[in-house]
């Protein structure tokens, strides 16, 4: 295996092969800086461009597209509260407040370091897991996926711990919106109210653009602030690149736990980086109740970005082993590879292992390149926080409108963005947690599908929950997640320091 890894590294770094991951990284960085567009959008556009390419070059290029976009998406999340890609949504929670506090450079540098090192953890674990791929994937069934989705929802109670009731209502509404569309089991239209467009369900990208981007533009307009950072902080960008970089080493526990969570969640098909980011963020917030999570704690940025990038390594696990995509990006990667006659699975792992490592090294190179380039340009990017806000509002609005329309070339997606923008602003203005709503929206399909499958398997007597160690472990994790805040609160009361 080491021989194959070494051969692949030489292939990746040889001339002119190295140009493909570099070109892919730069392209995906540019795309990810436009809110709403992402490496996935670019991959979809690039598939027809690469029909004539050598399969090796396709591996190199697409590996870079998977890895190159995430960090730049965090830059827009930090500077504008607009996640460049959906998995960067959790980064807005502390990244944007840090930018408002004049710590944009610290947040961007922390994100760069967390991205590069997080992806390294993911890839190192991926390489270590190659011999264990098959038994690992086979241990996860509908019950485990249901428990994982429920655990994701349980983090809602943590994220919005100061108003559990509003958090639960927002989650319920998020799930309800997630149920909109044709029910795959009964073929019935659910909550479409006769609107043909809604039969495919509420599209997530336009909804996120509205909830996170348009809502912020409305807020920025209504606030009347002269700059993004506010009238009082013109030209006083604080924070430092060094401080951001050192955050990874100052909080090694947060970094390692988040990377491991991201990698683990990435291996589960369909869960995706958005959940990984929020789960890691929720975990960090729960473990550090003394922190300023939600108001500009660097550990929030560290947790979500480390998990985001570590999940890329994890997402390659089921794809390389069984040809099962773990995320949107790997689904498109799989499509591109299939068009060039490369079929992931046993054949690839046993006979073309060096080609699999080409993909892994390309991903690795892209993650480091994007962080280094992003870090070099971060002082310039950070200046965006002091640009005149009222002149920026129409420009960003036009870009997000463009992103909504470009998603599928549909005018209806723009309507979804506007509707969710108004809802997002109303939620923000009235103290309703958007985070709970978004997590539930992402998890709705996974939750419902696996609820039915689990119920059906139990009904048929084909499932013995007590004999599934992964399910038992997840159940214990859920009990722990739910129980710890109550235990802490009780213990504080006993000590007489609680409310």
């Amino acid at each position: 295996m080491l021989q194959a890894a070494w051969e692949a590294l030489q292939i990746v770094l040889s001339w002119p092969n190295v140009l493909y991951p570099i070109g892919g990284t730069l392209l995906s960085m540019a795309f990810a800086f436009v809110p709403g567009l992402s490496g996935v959008t670019l991959m979809a556009l690039a598939i027809p461009w690469t029909f004539q390419w050598d399969p090796l070059h396709v591996m190199l290029f697409f590996g870079a597209l998977v890895g190159g976009a995430t960090f730049m998406g965090s830059v827009t999340a930090i500077l504008f509260n607009i996640p460049g890609t959906a998995p960067n949504a959790a980064t807005t929670l502390d990244g944007y407040p840090m930018a408002l506090n004049g710590e944009a450079r610290t947040a961007i540098a922390c994100s760069a370091a967390a991205s590069a090192l997080g992806s390294t953890v993911g890839i190192v674990l991926l390489i270590a897991l190659v011999p264990l791929l098959r038994p690992l994937i086979l241990a996860v069934g509908p019950l485990e996926l249901l428990l994982l989705a429920t655990w994701g929802l349980a983090t809602i109670a943590i994220v919005s711990r100061r108003s559990v009731l509003k958090g639960l209502i927002a989650a319920g509404m998020g799930l309800a919106i997630g149920f909109v569309g044709v029910d795959p089991r009964t073929a019935e239209d659910r909550y479409t109210f006769g609107i043909e467009f809604l039969r495919d369900g509420v599209p997530l990208v336009p909804a996120f653009l509205g909830l996170f981007a348009l809502a912020e533009m409305i807020d920025l307009f209504v606030s009347g602030r002269r700059t993004i950072a506010g009238d009082g902080v013109d030209g006083r960008l604080g924070g430092s690149v060094k401080e951001g970089l050192l955050a990874v080493f100052r909080y090694p526990g947060v970094f390692l736990r988040s990377s491991l969570l991201g990698m683990s969640i990435g291996t589960i098909p369909g869960i995706g980086g958005t959940v990984a980011g929020f789960v890691a963020y929720g975990d960090a917030a729960r473990r550090h109740p003394e922190g300023r999570f939600g108001s500009g704690d660097v550990r929030g940025v560290l947790a979500s970005e480390a998990a985001n990038d570590a999940k890329d390594g994890g997402a390659l696990v089921p794809m390389l082993a069984f040809g099962v995509p773990g995320s949107e990006g790997t689904a498109l990667l799989l499509t591109a590879l299939a068009l060039h006659g490369i079929t992931p699975g046993r054949e690839l792992i046993e006979n073309q292992l060096s080609l699999a490592f080409v993909l892994i090294w390309s991903l690795f190179l892209a993650n480091w390149l994007t962080s280094i380039i992003g870090l070099l340009v971060s002082p310039q990017l950070a200046r965006f926080t002091v640009v005149p806000a009222q002149k920026l509002v129409p420009v960003i609005t036009v870009i997000l409108v463009l992103a909504a329309i470009a998603y599928r070339g549909s005018f209806e997606d723009l309507v979804v963005t506007v509707a969710f923008g108004v809802v997002g602003y109303a939620m923000k203005a009235n103290g309703w947690p958007r985070v709970s709503f978004v997590i539930a929206l992402v998890l709705a399909t996974l939750f419902e599908t696996n609820l039915y499958l689990t119920a059906r398997l139990l009904e048929l007597g084909r499932l013995e929950p007590l004999q599934r160690p992964v399910a038992l472990g997840l159940f214990a994790l859920m009990v722990f997640t739910f129980g710890m805040p109550w235990v802490r609160s009780l213990s504080a009361r006993v000590r007489g320091v609680g409310p």
Binding site: L45, V159, I218, G230, Q390, V395, A406, F411
Partner: protein, 191 residues
């Protein structure tokens, strides 16, 4: 009844409409939605009662969204803002106003709230106008007109700045998406 209650009431109505629509579904189709929606509607009713009684306001004021407002943690935030009372939009008025802001305030605060309410309505008109213009004129024409008009009238920019910023934005969009990425935007109904 504080203004924040209206949003809770709207959520309750939405949940009830979804529940009513579930009656048209088969038992299998409505099982998971009803498992979620019935408790959600019940919790929303409890929240509405709390809001109306004013008990929800303090909670709403303390709570952070997880995506905190622009003034939280800022050095120049007012004491009320620093306390998280605005939860994002700083003192949004009208139907979007936080329950915490129902407390009596001075005339200056009331005037500020009226102005914020006006700004909410103005932005709603701008975004709705842009959407209608895109539908009628197509993306490039509509965004060009939107940018120019907005920058001149709303942002108070001079002609030179407005024209330059509009030209730069539209050119960048055209180059990146139409020329390089070969994306086709929906055409307008009129042009």
């Amino acid at each position: 009844v504080n203004a924040g209650s209206w949003f809770t009431a709207l959520l309750l109505v939405a949940a009830l409409v979804f529940i009513a629509d579930s009656a048209t579904l088969s038992p299998l189709g409505r099982l998971a939605p009803l498992c979620v929606l019935v408790p959600t509607a019940a919790m929303t009713l409890v929240q509405l009662v709390k809001d109306i009684r004013g008990r929800g306001t303090a909670e709403g004021a303390r709570q952070t969204d997880g995506a905190p407002g622009p003034h939280e943690g800022r050095a120049d935030a007012s004491p009320a803002e620093a306390a998280g009372q605005t939860e994002g939009a700083p003192g949004a008025g009208g139907p979007f106003r936080s329950g915490a802001e129902a407390a009596p305030r001075g005339e200056a605060d009331k005037a500020r709230e009226v102005e914020r309410h006006r700004r909410q309505l103005r932005f709603t008109f701008w975004i709705a106008g842009l959407a209608v213009a895109i539908y009628l004129l197509g993306f490039l024409l509509a965004t060009t007109a939107f940018l120019l008009l907005y920058l001149r009238t709303e942002a108070g920019a001079g002609w030179r700045t407005s024209l330059l910023l509009t030209a730069a934005t539209v050119s960048a969009i055209h180059l990146a998406f139409t020329v390089l990425a070969d994306l086709r935007f929906p055409e307008g109904a009129l042009f």
